[in-house]
Symmetry: C2
Subunit: 329 residues, 2 copies
């Protein structure tokens, strides 16, 4: 590999002068600047960020830990984070836990060993080991999606969103409303959204039917299976179903189609997340837009502010959301 020393030699200058040219720092005459630049151009020299950051203690890299790479939510978050950081000259290094929660700590360590300037963690669950790792990390961390006391987080109003969506269903004349959620290890999606659903039922004086409450797991297939389970195990059938993600909803809809249940006439359904495809399926899906782009942007800004020392204390940002009414209710 070609180094700054060789450039210096070729340009008849010292490495410090080349460094000055590279960084626009200190004095350097126009003449030598041109000479150096010419050599750099000719040789295709690219400075080593490695060496640079070993010296400066700054990598301009933010580590981003995601639970999966296959959902609209994740890709929109990551894109927004990336765009915002790129504007400020930062790059991201992505690591994917593939939903293995136990790997989160491992990935934090891995990224820290790469000396990232900061970390953004899209969290699906919070356990003691992870909590300890986050709290003890000398590298600034921003968590997206789960509320953690004493840690900088960006969260959705999961409870309110689910409650409001359930109320919308109730307003449409339903009182037999099923629910497809996810496991409670995911506090935000598994617990809070379910609590919102229950609160809305309760507020409307509608009794809870346990036969109508089932779990899925963030993909089409388990959405389908959950719907099947709900219909097969219930003595009285629901006329509407609230699901906690669009993917689950679409899986559930396939079951309905297969069994010739008209949506929304025989059974209504809602998703959450406003995935791009939700608008293009038939019928189009009533869902909740959690403003992922804005969330990603906020996360990027927050981590940079923490790094710059502009944000000293843990900050909690609650994102807004929008109910998107379409044809499935």
């Amino acid at each position: 590999m070609i180094t700054i020393k060789e450039i210096a030699k070729l340009a008849n200058a010292s490495s410090s002068t080349v460094s000055r040219v590279l960084n626009d720092s200190g004095y350097v005459s126009e003449e030598t600047r041109k000479r150096v630049l010419k050599v750099i151009e000719e040789t295709g020299y690219i400075p080593s960020e490695q060496a640079k950051s070993l010296r400066t203690k700054k990598t301009s890299v933010i580590g981003v830990i995601i639970p999966r790479l296959s959902t609209d939510t994740t890709s929109r978050l990551v894109n927004a984070i990336n765009d915002e950081l790129a504007k400020k000259g930062y790059q991201i290094i992505l690591t994917n836990t593939n939903l293995h929660a136990e790997k989160e700590v491992e990935h934090i360590k891995l990224l820290r060993s790469r000396q990232v300037d900061g970390l953004i963690l899209i969290a699906t669950n919070v356990n003691d080991v992870l909590l300890k790792e986050i709290r003890n990390s000398p590298t600034p961390i921003v968590v997206i999606g789960q509320e953690i006391p004493g840690v900088s987080v960006i969260v959705n109003r999961d409870f309110e969103a689910a409650k409001q969506m359930t109320q919308l269903i109730i307003e449409n004349g339903h009182n037999k409303i099923g629910f497809i959620g996810v496991h409670e290890t995911d506090k935000a999606v598994g617990v809070d959204r379910k609590a919102g659903y229950l609160a809305a039922l309760n507020g409307a004086g509608i009794p809870v039917n346990e036969q109508w409450i089932v779990d899925a797991n963030f993909d089409y297939q388990t959405g389908y299976r959950a719907m099947k389970q709900m219909m097969e195990q219930s003595t009285i059938k629901p006329t509407a179903v609230l699901t906690v993600t669009d993917t689950i909803a679409i899986g559930a809809m396939q079951y309905m189609h297969e069994h010739h249940l008209a949506i929304p006439d025989d059974i209504a359904i809602t998703g959450m997340g406003n995935s791009k495809v939700s608008q293009y399926i038939v019928p189009s899906l009533t869902t909740i837009d959690f403003l992922n782009e804005q969330t990603g942007k906020e996360a990027a800004r927050l981590i940079l502010n923490i790094i710059d020392g502009k944000e000293k204390r843990p900050k909690k940002i609650q994102m807004k959301y929008r109910i998107i009414k379409r044809d499935s209710v």
Copy 2:
């Protein structure tokens, strides 16, 4: 940050000894090993990959350049690449050009400045600047998706796949077959798949109708618009449409639904890519599985082999594909 020197001091050893413990290299007595390990544990010391790779000339990082992060194809490729590389102790650093082809060169340079051991480029187009950059890069590069002479590539049989799919449509009794493609800057998808379509028509003695050939751009919206354009501009209407991606197909299907065209009875449609959702929409989409997981795996293996010097000459790998017959034809 805590360094190897401080560990050495705390453990009453030299930094060389600590290094030996860390890397399981050379002799070190069981006693001191334990002593060192204990200090490492207590302090939470994490070695700096920066410094390490400055010394060893090896980062164990592969740069992956993708055109977008929002499609199934990309996320499955990246996941497969990541899984395979992780097995061998490599990490990936992802950069996203957001479909701005001119940024590819910039990203290659960016990643090279990070001293990545190798690069995997998911290409959508090939131009002279990019070609020159790839050919001159001292860092090994594997390209996915586009054929480039003299460069290691993993490609699909785009021509054959499109041709075979068109033949399948013809076998189903159609002879008025539309085509929604993408711009020809994308050789594989824009040119080769179109050529396959044309070859199939030609082989069956079906004349080409230019009114039935339109372009979209890898998203639902332009798929919808392309379908609209095709139907509005054509005097005779097609009874089937071949599209080059599932996303485009789903966008087109929405137009059909809106205009009460029954699929496949009034109009048949096919996609390509076997996106997860293609199975769950109604009707389910006939498509082509390009075996993305295997492609990603091959790419990962190839780049590692090149790095290890096991693969000296540029290698071209052609992936297989499977036609997936479902209900849209």
